[in-house]
């Protein structure tokens, strides 16, 4: 397959403007936080044009998805948005269960909601913290990071892994929630609002921070829709779209929470929406943990999706059959020869998977719809006309995670 040259050679609209200074930003730069590169054309200190260059972290996740089975691939999803890996686990198995047509147990739905919302808090903490760090608010970042540490502790007690959790399984979860975890979550719910309050008091009315973010990188509502933007970035531009409300998956219909929106669409609005969303997520966690239903976390043997417990395997014929059906190399899940798309409201936006099944245990095609990819495409549009120092503010407010961007 030789690569034929493109139909038209690319002519920059700025050709001939020799006085412009070209600056290479990245791929290794402390403010990109990950590996991405932007070629910036500067007129003095003003950004005339920016050309993102991505792919430095491309590791073929979608190709790997065509070779690992539905349970194995969850480890790869951990490495996509590594700031909130457990939200990716939930998104992946949401798509798999949509394709396979599995109805989860109520307890499993609640636990998935709790971990997804904790992941949202930890993602937003890093996102606003790093944005604060980039524009000079170091203390703010440390406040945020200490709370992230506490969420890691909760995940460690929950599944043994702090960072790459791989917590979900087809039709259920890896472990049930123990009383210790519930206690840790309750303590977090009790103590986190004080830190959140401190964080808001540090930055919300901070003159330097507000001057550097208000009116910078404005995204209008029309542009947000036109450019396929989702999540907090879209909500900060006044698009009231939140999949938790629009298509309530898992158990989100049971909880009382608000969709946080802003109208301004600038970097400050994106910061503000993330801060407000943390409060709402905390409310969801508090409601879910107090109303956690009893019962099994995995679907029963009739679904043939989750491995039954050992007592069921040894004492019931259905358990034995299910066990063998799942572990034998030539058997496995019942997968239709069909295609399905399912998405969740991940911390960064709509994280969806388009799955094509072909009857085997391995997806025929596992397309991931990464929110960062579409958000980074916005970058030249947002930064044009602003100064070089605004580059980091805009990058921070978009929360670009290169591992998810490049997959």
């Amino acid at each position: 397959m030789p690569l034929t040259p493109l139909d038209t050679p690319r002519v920059s609209p700025l050709a001939g403007e020799d006085y412009l200074w070209t600056l290479n930003f990245g791929p290794q730069h402390p403010a990109t936080h990950t590996t991405l590169r932007i070629v910036i054309k500067l007129d003095g200190e003003r950004v005339v044009d920016a050309q993102p260059d991505i792919g430095y972290l491309h590791s073929g996740f979608e190709k790997i998805g065509e070779h690992l089975d539905y349970n194995q691939y969850v480890t790869v999803t951990d490495r996509m948005n590594y700031v909130s890996p457990i939200a990716n686990n939930v998104a992946w198995h949401q798509a798999v269960e949509t394709l396979l047509g599995i109805e989860l147990t109520p307890r499993c739905r609640y636990i998935r909601v709790i971990v997804a919302e904790l992941a949202r808090i930890s993602d937003h903490l890093l996102s606003v913290g790093a944005m604060g760090l980039d524009v000079g608010a170091f203390t703010f970042f440390l406040y945020a990071f200490y709370q992230r540490e506490r969420i890691y502790d909760i995940f460690e007690a929950l599944c043994g892994a702090r960072f790459t959790n791989s917590y979900t399984r087809v039709g259920g979860l890896m472990h049930d929630m123990t009383p210790l975890v519930v206690e840790k979550i309750r303590a977090f719910v009790r103590e986190f609002p004080a830190t959140l309050h401190d964080m808001e008091r540090l930055l919300n009315r901070n003159r330097i921070f507000v001057d550097r973010t208000r009116g910078v990188g404005v995204l209008t509502r029309e542009d947000a829709i036109h450019r396929s933007v989702s999540g907090p970035v879209a909500r900060a531009s006044g698009v009231p779209r939140d999949l938790r409300k629009d298509e309530p998956y898992l158990a989100y219909a049971d909880f009382d929470f608000q969709v946080c929106c802003a109208a301004a669409g600038d970097c400050f609005a994106r910061y503000y929406v993330r801060m407000a969303e943390m409060r709402e997520s905390l409310r969801i966690v508090a409601q879910a943990v107090e109303h956690l239903p009893a019962g099994p976390i995995n679907v029963g043997p009739e679904e043939r999706a989750a491995l039954p417990g050992k007592s069921a395997v040894y004492q019931t014929i259905e358990g034995t059959i299910t066990h063998f059906e799942l572990v034998m190399a030539n058997r496995g899940f019942v997968v239709p020869c069909e295609e399905a798309y399912a998405a969740v409201e991940a911390p960064n936006g709509e994280l969806g998977f388009y799955l094509v099944g072909d009857g085997s245990n391995v997806a025929y095609r596992a397309r991931c719809r990464p929110p960062s990819f579409l958000h980074f495409a916005l970058f030249p549009h947002l930064i044009r006309g602003h100064t070089l120092s605004d580059v980091v503010a805009v990058l921070g407010s978009l929360n670009i995670i290169a591992a998810e961007l490049d997959r």
Binding site: M1, P2, L3, L6, D7, R10, I54, G55, H58, G60, E62, K63, I64, E66, H67, T98, L99, G101, D223, I225, H226, R227, S228, V229, S230, V239, R241, L243, D246, E247, P336, C337, E338, E339, A340, Y341, A343, E350, G352, Y354, V356, D358, G359, Y364, R365, R367, R369, F373, L374, F376, A377, D406, R407
Partner: protein
Amino acid sequence: MQAGSAMNEGSDILLRQLGAQFPRLSTSAFRGQTRIVVPRDELLELLRPLKERFGFDMLVDLTCVDYLHHRDATDRFGLVYLLVQTESGRRLTVRVYVNEPDLSVPSVVSLWEGANWLEREVWDMFGIRFPGHPDLRRILLPEQFTAHPLRKDYPLQGRGERHNFPVLTRSQA
């Protein structure tokens, strides 16, 4: 349940209107997701009214599937356009099939700017061209790369990783 049945009714009306206008459409549904298959030459004619008249104002995703080894598939590539109405949250999937040798589909960047990078990614991974795209370059892989790795005839390991790049010895470096 109520919302679900109202939604089905809405998509029935939509599909009837579209079917009257485009007789070559075929529709199907799976797990409550409505899908339309449209011939390639009618794609833009269908997507434009979907966006402007029927309110599917956001392109959520654009991707491609290579059906080379897929059971009972008759076409080689299928492009998938996932649309959503931001007002109601209703979704619609539009699919187009393309076959070799003419691997090109009209670009939808004129309708949705968000398609820009998505189409570049499909070109990069599957080698499908989008006439009308303003800047169709590779996006994730290096420009010198000569294959399209998400095609099914491209192996998981062993090809295209090194032989495209010049070998620099220590004395040359």
